[in-house]
Symmetry: C2
Subunit: 360 residues, 2 copies
């Protein structure tokens, strides 16, 4: 068995020790005589898996007691609709648009109310984060929305926007569990787990309890109601049990290596190796404002589409997978999530250095 270095933006690489445990338990989970895939979601053995997953996440993120943790199918895409539907009071939603994902979220929200784009970095192809210290927040805004790390464009908010007292909603999909965050700063944090945690098919929604509306319009589909998921502890219907199990393993793994403080340290160190190289290179350069560089998604270009394609092909041949950049940015993108080992980043930089030398 030869594992590759997988730089996919999501679904993405996972910790090998977690995969090995899963493999070991595949036909018989801890003496239950069955696979987790075969377990009734109402059985005691699965209940324990679910409860431990939630508790470990609470420990990792230091989630206050007045926040609910929900495990919901449909990915971030379904959340783009569930958020405005469930948080709607005045029907006014303020969005900060800093890339593809916040743009998509804002477009979906228009179905359910008035959307104000209170700031955007669209003018420079989303290569920076606008100053969000004094935005024209609507007095009636039900919330202010950000995508805190833009997967495609490779930017991260360094400080949270000043929402002028309004609720902050943050899509953390591509930075989920990459560093400590102060949950109390947010009304809702959510993320699709398939980038930085586990297998696709699950979004985790961390929502302040008082924001869960039980008096939604009768016409809202039951599955789209946070209050239904909350009241039933994510077991209103059969959840994505497998993804919850795998994410639970990743949570335990992160605790075992020292939690999110340690993870943030490792992530900074890994990203620095790549960014330092890009800053020194005469061939490759990063595409975003250095002050808001993502520690997770690193887009870079040579300046020539032909050369970009050549690098992608040669890295692939050398065992570095999924380095092709998103079509809206071009070039290359290395997603170096939690589970990407430092050795993977070092090997990539080594390879790119060699390529640069040979193609000087």
């Amino acid at each position: 068995m030869a594992r590759v270095y997988n730089f996919s933006a999501g679904p993405a690489t996972m910790p090998v020790p977690v995969l090995e445990e899963i493999k070991e338990e595949l036909l018989d989970y801890k003496g239950s005589g069955m696979s987790v895939m075969e377990m009734s979601h109402r059985s005691k053995v699965f209940q324990t898996i679910l409860e431990e997953a939630e508790q470990d996440l609470r420990d990792l993120m230091n989630i206050p007691d007045n926040y609910k943790v929900l495990f919901i199918q449909g990915g971030a895409t379904l959340q783009f609709a569930m958020l405005p539907i469930n948080l709607k009071k005045n029907g006014v939603f303020d969005y900060i648009v800093t890339g593809q994902w916040s743009k998509k979220a804002a477009e979906e929200a228009k179905k359910f109310g008035k959307v104000n784009i209170v700031a955007t970095s669209k003018d420079k192809n989303f290569s920076y984060i606008p100053d969000c210290s004094d935005l024209p927040i609507d007095d009636d805004a039900d919330y202010v929305y950000i995508c805190e790390n833009e997967t495609v464009h490779g930017t991260t908010f360094q400080t949270l926007p000043n929402t002028k007292g309004k609720i902050l909603v943050s899509d953390q999909s591509s930075m989920f569990l990459s560093k400590p965050v102060n949950v109390s700063d947010y009304g809702v944090i959510y993320g699709g787990v398939q980038k930085n945690v586990g297998p696709a098919g699950l979004a985790i929604v961390i929502i302040r309890e008082d924001l869960i509306n039980e008096n939604l319009d009768e016409s809202v589909p039951t599955y789209l109601r946070y209050d239904i998921h909350a009241k039933n502890d994510s077991l209103y219907n059969t959840p994505n049990c497998w993804a919850i199990y795998v994410c639970g393993k990743v949570f335990k793994y992160l605790k075992s290596i020292g939690g999110l403080e340690k993870m943030a340290e490792i992530n900074k160190e890994k990203a620095k190796i790549l960014y330092d190289f890009l800053d020194e290179s005469k061939l490759f350069k990063g595409t975003v404002d250095p002050s808001v560089r993502s520690l997770m998604n690193v887009p870079f270009i040579t300046g020539s589409d032909e050369k970009d394609a050549d690098v992608v092909a040669k890295t692939k041949a050398a065992g570095f997978e999924n380095l092709k950049g998103h079509k809206s940015v071009g070039g290359l993108r290395a997603s170096i999530y939690n589970a990407m080992p430092k050795e993977g980043v070092e090997a990539l930089v080594e390879f790119l250095k060699k390529y640069e030398k040979e193609n000087a």
Copy 2:
């Protein structure tokens, strides 16, 4: 490793050869150097998994070319809403209510239009299937809805209702792939896969192309639109890749053992062993009209709640899991899906016979 006989109603037992293959491929799928959980859903390797899964399902069910196959998250619960939302023309929906699941579906549909209950077996706790040969189908009905096999109550439609020309929509969750069906008889067949196929978190929707409405109201959440899933071949957003992969393996397995004709034969044989015992037993008896007995879900009782509980406890101690009946029926329920081996049913009957003798 000791495997139990798992009679869970869902998530449920899976074929051991499939689980073994998955285990083998867990860290390195066919030389890709990664787990299926880590693969970009846009990568060639995953595209092949998705395409083969669809093709194998088409082969197994003999799905005509004018039907689309969609892989959607959210389970049958989300379909309860998506069906009326997407099939709405006149806003009139006719439901046949034969148990818990068709009842839930009908309740959800009320959010989106007028629901007529055109037949029901509620008067006898859903223990039979009403005569559906001449129902008061509404002239304006957008469709007629059935749950073809009721998981909780253990009944199956033996003949399809006369819909008087209206579209038939069938929830086949707990009988999906248990026998051949004539897809052309239906407008939509759908099922949550976690009962008779694979892991939870995926519904498969087989829909006649002309029923896919592209002119839905702007206010419909994007994720809830069949046209969006259809246009994007189930890749509008990241799907439940893992469940698609596992279901694909089950499809190949079913083909390898002789397809749905063979599966139906095996299922009949297995169910007969259990029903023959129940018909002969002086202690245990089935709870439904023998003419509509499910081959998948077999509820039975002793007539004493105390004795029922004792049997459940003793079977569990003997390695037969999840035999407790649903609270609305009581007693016991053996779900004997495709993957339950004949030996499991035989062993259970043996055990029940012994129990009966010892407690005569």
